[in-house]
């Protein structure tokens, strides 16, 4: 399970206990702040995120494994900006761009690692309250299901990839053959699993109108929301 991404880590830290109705928009606001240009803004947002990770007490090994998956992407971004930038030396803007995207990735990971699916689903249902109850219920279910399915499918992908490697098939040498041999069995397994899941839910009389987890915002949640808003305001005013 070490190689699985988007895993929830049960815990009782402050970050785990925050109300997801404040945590979700808080994460979106943080992402907005992280995208603001300038090394000072990058340092402030990185510091805030580091503090959040320390409070959340996520194992460092897990954090690194999750993050390493994005290193090729960050390297590609760094190189793209490095070779296209012509003002102020290419190294600084390239490092800033890669740093900003690394923060976005880490913020999203922190949200998933510290928030149970049922709580994310309940928060989404709460946000969708203006919509008809049935539609809001279905959307909440879909969001919860898809976030829950990502680690399962990822594990299937890793197993399929290992099987191809063992058979000596390399993406670099035969990309089309590799893609078809990887994706056909992967998708067949994924769809059979999806079908089983739908049948299991049907068997348990799952309905869109089921009641969701009760959420309660406390003083500390509002303080957290206020801190994120202040962070965004401080960054946007500079």
């Amino acid at each position: 399970m070490d190689r699985v991404i988007f895993r929830y880590f049960p815990g009782d830290s402050l970050i785990h206990r925050f109300d997801p109705r404040i945590k979700l928009p808080g994460c979106a606001l943080f992402c907005y702040a992280a995208l603001q240009p300038g090394p000072r803004n990058l340092a402030i947002t990185a510091g805030a995120l580091l503090a959040a990770f320390l409070f959340a007490r996520i194992p460092l090994k897990t954090l690194l494994i999750d993050f390493l998956r994005f290193v090729p992407l960050l390297t590609a971004l760094f190189l793209a900006v490095f070779f296209s930038s012509d003002d102020g030396g290419p190294l600084v803007p390239a490092a800033l761009a890669a740093g900003r995207f690394a923060l976005l990735i880490l913020a999203g990971n922190l949200l998933i690692q510290t928030t149970a699916l049922s709580r994310i689903s309940a928060a989404v249902r709460w946000f969708l309250t203006p919509l008809p109850r049935r539609l809001a219920g279905r959307l909440g279910t879909m969001i919860g299901l898809s976030v829950g399915l990502i680690p399962l499918f990822f594990q299937e992908l890793e197993e399929s990839r290992d099987a191809l490697k063992a058979r000596g098939l390399r993406a670099r040498k035969q990309p089309l053959r590799w893609a078809v041999k990887l994706l056909t069995p992967l998708l067949a397994r994924v769809f059979l699993r999806t079908e089983e899941m739908a049948e299991a839910m049907e068997g348990r009389c799952y309905s869109d109108e089921r009641s969701s987890l009760p959420l309660k915002a406390q003083g500390i949640d509002w303080l957290f929301g206020l801190a994120v808003i202040l962070l965004v305001l401080a960054i946007c005013q500079t």
Partner: protein, 186 residues
């Protein structure tokens, strides 16, 4: 494919999860590795139909807008306003078009599938290149050169893979993906 509401819900969620997975399937083709997200976007429209396929795309975009790192450039609503925002928006018409045309391909011809996936892949570039040109201030021709031409070899590979995989899946799992007769969406 006619499905019950619950099955539709589960399949839409599964395809949204697969689109996320697409970010982690990289194929080294040329200097920049290609990711398979739009492969799953096209496949969602093709296998689920236009309505459920585009619902899966909307769900995927919603997950990204909420801040989850599900796009190849991370996550957050701000990415929709960045240079790649048009490509993300283009996923929706791509799934719609692919699903609509797949419903029309009742004789299940291979060449028609290739055409369907090609049109679906190309329509992503329409809002993508226009938005790239708008955001970066590049002339349209230069936007085409930077935002479309380098990715065409990757798209050819994805179209070929999508055609092969979709046809094989229909053969392996005929009970799940029967040929379209009267439209597959509910």
């Amino acid at each position: 494919m006619k499905r019950g509401n619950l099955k539709s819900t589960v399949y839409i969620s599964a395809f949204a999860a697969l689109m996320v997975l697409g970010v982690f399937i990289r194929i080294p083709l040329g200097p920049v590795p290609i990711v398979m997200t739009n492969f799953f976007v096209l496949l969602a429209g093709y296998l689920l139909g236009p309505v459920s396929g585009s619902a899966a795309v909307l769900l995927y975009l919603f997950l990204g807008a909420a801040g989850l790192p599900v796009f190849s450039a991370g996550g957050g609503a701000a990415l929709f306003l960045g240079p790649t925002g048009g490509y993300l928006a283009g996923y929706l018409p791509a799934a719609l078009l692919t699903g609509f045309l797949a419903d029309k391909n009742r004789r299940n011809k291979t060449w028609a599938d290739i055409l369907i996936f090609t049109l679906g892949a190309l329509i992503i570039y329409l809002p993508g290149v226009l938005w790239l040109s708008h955001v970066t201030g590049l002339p349209f021709k230069a936007s085409l050169q930077t935002g479309m031409l380098p990715f065409l070899p990757g798209d050819i590979l994805k179209i070929a893979a999508a055609t092969a995989v979709a046809r094989r899946l229909k053969n392996y799992l005929p009970e799940l993906f029967p040929p379209a007769k009267n439209g597959r969406d509910q």
